[in-house]
């Protein structure tokens, strides 16, 4: 007999496969990468919870999650683009992320939809992402309010990202998810909703055995890709001028 949650989970995959690249998206650091849980990460382990409350009579948890799934890229804050799968947020689907980091550095990565049901969905990161772990978006009814929540369980993937998170990256991430929840609340008519943030360090220890994760770093590879753009342009032009046949 199938488990009740059988259709909510992604099927087992050894590496990620991007079936279709949306126009304008850079498919870098996703194809062929393995998923990473917090167990495979390098840095301290954090659980960050961001919550916003809405009147329950305005939107139910199931309605909120259905909208969040459907319009996920619309709630994404400025400074990056979430190229959602064409089929929407569904278990096993892969989405591409193109972000602009401090210093105008471009960073290309992605996520896979690990789990999705009527009241929650979870995105999991691949090798090379800023962090190893997952983000669960959920909604529950509490005291006549619908509480929308984003919860991140993560470790920085490698020593470089760990330094970046310590030197302002955590604050930037907090602002990012605060803005996301503010956008969700505004969509349902709550333009001045306050976002509660709770940050717990689950494990203060760094996993030094994972320092080699830096090999897959999306920051390094995206930078190399950007630096190589002129060379690729010249090669392309040269290739076009080659006689055919």
């Amino acid at each position: 007999m199938d488990a009740r949650d059988a259709t909510n989970w992604a099927k087992r995959v050894s590496t990620l496969n991007v079936s279709e690249v949306p126009a304008g998206a850079v498919n870098l650091n996703v194809e062929g990468r393995r998923l990473t849980s917090p167990i495979q990460g390098f840095g301290k382990m954090w659980q960050k919870t961001y919550q916003v409350r809405l009147p329950a009579e305005r939107v139910s948890p199931a309605e909120l999650i259905a909208t969040w799934k459907q319009r996920f890229p619309d709630f994404w804050p400025e400074g990056g683009t979430f190229y959602g799968p064409l089929t929407g947020i569904a278990p096993g689907e892969v989405a591409l992320l193109n972000m602009t980091m401090p210093g105008r550095m471009k960073l290309s990565t992605g996520v896979m939809v690990l789990y999705a049901d009527e009241e929650s969905f979870t995105l999991m990161t691949p090798q090379g992402h800023m962090f190893a772990g997952w983000i669960t978006f959920s909604a529950t009814e509490r005291d006549s309010e619908t509480v929308a929540q984003a919860q991140v369980l993560m470790r920085a993937s490698d020593p470089i990202f760990e330094v970046g998170l310590t030197l302002g990256g955590h604050k930037q991430e907090d602002r990012f998810w605060n803005q996301t929840l503010t956008n969700v609340a505004a969509h349902f008519g709550e333009r001045a909703a306050e976002v509660d943030t709770q940050v717990v360090c689950v494990d203060k220890r760094r996993q030094w055995s994972k320092w080699r994760n830096v090999w897959h770093s999306s920051a390094i590879r995206s930078t190399l890709y950007t630096l190589g753009a002129p060379v690729r342009a010249v090669r392309g032009r040269f290739g076009e001028q080659q006689p055919v046949g």
Binding site: W9, K11, E119, S120, Q151, V202, D203
Partner: protein
């Protein structure tokens, strides 16, 4: 999603504590799961029994990761048994199987823990 709908009963077998899990494991199970872990005491190995697990969402998997951190912090090991094919696949997908020893039976798990 936030209500506890699972029970966790602890049985001591020498240096190992078996935790019998029944019901639905979600983020709402945190308090009872951590209570069970505290009840497991100073066991050298924590051995969750998933035979009677009927449902688990991503919040439940997150709880297992958090439990694993506590287990590692106390230099204990974590071994599991009773996983259906479905949940074994989820352990592979989330790569929990790289940190938790998966065994086919209680006897095998306890043997690996040095408890038989």
């Amino acid at each position: 999603m936030s209500e506890a709908t699972a029970t966790f009963e602890v049985r001591r077998h020498g240096p190992a504590s078996v935790v019998d899990i029944r019901g639905d494991v979600t983020a709402g199970s945190e308090e009872v799961l951590m209570g069970a872990y505290d009840a497991a005491g100073d066991a050298r190995a924590i051995v969750p029994n998933f035979t009677e697990l009927s449902y688990m969402n991503s919040g439940g998997i997150g709880l297992l990761v958090t439990l694993l951190v506590r287990v590692n912090r106390r230099s204990q090991s974590m071994l599991a048994f009773g996983l259906s094919d479905h949940y074994a696949q989820i352990f592979e997908l989330t790569r929990l199987d790289e940190a938790i020893g998966i065994h086919d039976s209680e006897h095998e798990a306890l043997a690996a823990a040095g408890a038989v």
